[in-house]
């Protein structure tokens, strides 16, 4: 064998080895665009569509864990009251739903009847309704039936399709009625009306209530829907109407629910409706910004039962406090008004400035208002006096405007931070005692995790995951743990790559 032949052999071997090289995995080429961070009661979850992973960060554990998802994750949402996170996955032609069980570390994949855009959950987390958004792009699909919805039974992991058959395009909102012995009504508000169906009997056709009669040129659209706690009434607020639209719902089970429509009038410029507590009977609370009034209207249309409160200042929204009290406010105004719906007593107070955000906490019977200038956090509590309500105002001075908050309703603690500061403050809502802990970076969002009593601060500016977890209420940095760039978790574990 000549030296030339020997060299030729070596070169040939090298060529064979070169030919065996793998190409670059596509998953490492494109940028990662994680979906928003979701907090459950024990962990935070970040879904990374590009790598088909849900990264679960459990405070107290040194390393986040990753769960494999279906391809095409595009929206994520927490199921209330459960350690479950729902992820809309799949392709337009083969849509799926992944249910991530954070507690057990498992993922259940369900076939979805549509390539839905969003999900609404019943407050108890038993039901989810999947809908389209009219503004969402249709992707590779030529046509989408925006009148179909998906109904998820969370416990059974079953997802069924319902056809609303309305004149409107996609739903605007989904409202769940109270749990009744044999039915659970769900109202889907649409541009031109509302559709009602019984979630426990999805095979029964929905009842459609048109707000605009056929041929009408009226431009009213439903903007708000509220069920009465009894389930007997559905109240609607529509654009361009000062009347509250009252739908009286029949007791039918197993057949389309009967509906009779009534309009009840109060003041001018309807801006908010609320369902008062069940003890108030067949009433609806309506707030009128135009006439600066709040009305408690009888759903049956009995004018003599109506009650009116003339607010001392502008009002736009109402929020329920504990018992039968409501708090009326307007973000453009400094005046707050409390009204007891049962006995009619009221009272008001004036803030030091207009507020940028508010947090009404019926669990602790108080409200917190964040004022921008001056930077103040004002806590409002309501006490009873003989013939009126007294609003007590206690203010906390802030170095900068308030930016993010989380609440622990059980121990009555409010966690907050101010813009541009890396310090997180714990405020005891009863004693107003403050405790500060300095982190390494400002927090854009806060989440309280009841299991383990942890506070999670999500830092801004890093889409690849940047959170600090700290024992709630602590002032010691030594207990904090910061996780940076954790969306890379399991980055070596490629989908479909054999080990």
């Amino acid at each position: 064998m000549s030296a030339t032949a020997c060299l030729r052999g070596a070169v040939l071997s090298a060529a064979v080895l070169l030919a065996a090289c793998g190409g670059r995995g596509g998953v490492y080429v494109g940028p990662l665009k994680p979906l928003p961070l979701i907090a459950t009661s024990a962990a935070v979850v970040q879904v990374v569509p590009e790598t088909r992973r849900a990264v679960v960060l459990t405070p107290g554990e040194a390393t986040p864990a990753a769960l494999r998802l279906s391809a095409g994750a595009r929206a994520v949402s927490r199921v209330p009251g459960a350690e479950l996170v729902a992820v809309l996955t799949g392709t337009p032609r083969a849509p799926t739903l992944d249910l991530v069980d954070v507690a057990s570390g498992t993922v259940a994949t369900l076939e979805s009847p549509g390539f839905f855009d969003r999900v609404s959950w019943s407050p108890d987390g038993a039901l989810g309704v999947f809908t389209y958004a009219a503004t969402a792009p249709s992707g590779q699909l030529v046509a989408r039936n925006l009148n179909e919805v998906g109904l998820l039974f969370v416990a059974q992991r079953a997802l069924v399709r319902l056809q609303l058959d309305t004149e409107s395009l996609a739903p605007r909102d989904v409202v769940f009625g109270p749990a009744e012995p044999n039915r659970r009504l769900v109202a889907v508000t649409l541009e031109r009306g509302v559709a009602l169906f019984d979630a426990l009997h999805p095979e029964v056709a929905p009842r459609r209530i048109a707000l605009r009669p056929q041929g009408s040129t009226a431009e009213s659209s439903v903007v708000e829907a509220v069920f009465a706690p009894s389930g007997r009434w559905l109240f609607l607020r529509a654009t361009g109407l000062d009347d509250v639209i009252v739908l009286e719902l029949g007791p039918e089970v197993g057949s389309p629910v009967s509906v009779s429509i009534n309009f009840v009038a109060g003041g001018r410029g309807l801006t908010d409706i609320e369902a008062p507590p069940e003890v108030m009977g067949d009433m609806v609370l309506a707030v009128y910004a135009g006439s600066r009034e709040a009305w408690l209207l009888d759903a049956r249309g009995i004018q003599d039962n109506a009650r009116r409160l003339a607010a001392p200042g502008p009002v736009r929204t109402a929020a329920l406090l504990s018992g039968t009290r409501v708090l009326l406010s307007d973000a453009a105004s400094r005046t707050l008004t409390a009204w007891d719906l049962l006995d009619g007593r009221s009272g008001s107070v004036t803030l030091d400035g207009t507020f940028s955000s508010s947090l009404v906490l019926p669990e602790v019977d108080r409200a917190v208002f964040a004022l921008g200038a001056p930077a103040v956090l004002s806590e409002v509590t309501v006490t009873e006096e003989t013939n009126r309500l007294r609003l007590k105002l206690q203010s906390i001075q802030l170095s900068r405007p308030f930016s993010a908050a989380a609440l622990d309703p059980v121990t009555r603690r409010l966690f907050f931070t101010v813009s541009g500061s890396s310090t997180v403050v714990t405020m005891d809502l009863v004693t107003l005692a403050l405790a500060e802990v300095a982190l390494d970076a400002p927090a854009a969002r806060l989440a309280y995790l009841p299991q383990g009593d942890w506070l999670v601060a999500e830092h801004a500016g890093n889409a690849l995951g940047d959170v600090t977890v700290v024992p709630a209420g602590t002032t010691e940095r030594s207990g904090a743990l910061r996780y940076v760039d954790f969306v890379f978790t399991d980055d070596f574990e490629l989908p479909g790559d054999a080990p």
Binding site: M1, A3, C6, L7, A10, S13, A14, L17, A20, C21, G22, G23, R24, G25, Y28, V29, G30, P31, L32, E50, L57, A62, T63, P64, A65, A66, L439, D440, A441, N462, L464, D466, T468, V469, R477, S478, A480, L481, R482, Y483, V484, D485, F486, F488, T489, D490, D491, F492, E493, L494, D497, P499
Partner: protein, 221 residues
């Protein structure tokens, strides 16, 4: 440069010729390790990890051929931009090896060989996105290589004692290692005083076994 190497070898050979030393060798060369797993693409898209190898050893006659044993140090690194430039992945692999090579002189200028070795390697992975995350993992390794050596006698027959050889070594083989689990990449604390502890990131494991090609230049005397 070549002249300097030849002069050095000549000097070494002159001193070696004065005593009956066992055969000694020193080598330096390039080694390319090939990892075809897609997982490895995170740190190196073209799959080749270039390595520098330096070794020193001795040898003796065994049967019809020669057995050479040596101790080697290898080091190599790669850097890759990942996820559309969101992160840079740096891998540094280094290790020590002991090995034996059996060669047979087919011709005076051609010696086929087979080599077996065992070693201990350290791999440091640094993933830099918003901040560097780093971890070092170590494992045992083994390798097998077959190839040919092309010895070229240095000096003339009139010189006394052993004459050094410059040996050109072309080989190919396979290196075996367990998967490297980079399961706790950590960032350095942001502040020095009362730092907030860092949680770690588990990237999973990457196969680090694969073929290798090597080109060595050995001086043997």
């Amino acid at each position: 440069m070549t002249k300097r190497v030849l002069m050095l070898c000549t000097l070494l050979s002159a001193s070696a010729s004065r005593a009956a030393w066992p055969a000694l060798s020193a080598s330096v060369g390039y080694e390319s390790q090939l990892y075809t797993s897609q997982r490895y693409d995170l740190v190196d898209a073209d799959d080749f990890l270039p390595m520098l190898r330096v070794a020193a050893g001795t040898g003796f006659e065994l049967g019809p051929g020669h057995l050479d044993v040596d101790v080697a140090f290898t080091t190599g690194a790669s850097r890759e931009s990942a996820h559309g430039g969101q992160a840079a992945a740096d891998l540094w692999l280094r290790g020590v090896q002991v090995g034996g090579l059996y060669r047979y002189g087919l011709f005076s200028w051609l010696e086929p060989y087979a080599r077996l070795g065992v070693g201990w390697d350290w791999a440091t992975l640094q993933l830099t996105a918003s901040t560097p995350l780093r971890q070092t993992v170590s494992h045992v390794s083994g390798l097998g290589v077959v190839g040919v050596q092309l010895p070229v006698r240095m000096g003339t027959a009139s010189n006394k004692g052993r004459l050094p050889f410059m040996v050109f070594d072309l080989g190919g083989g396979y290196v075996v290692r367990p998967d490297y689990a980079f399961d706790a990449l950590k960032a350095d604390p942001v502040t020095k005083t009362e730092p907030v502890a860092s949680g770690s990131v588990n990237l999973g494991s990457v196969p680090m076994h694969g073929g290798l090609l090597r080109v060595l230049v050995t001086v043997r005397w």
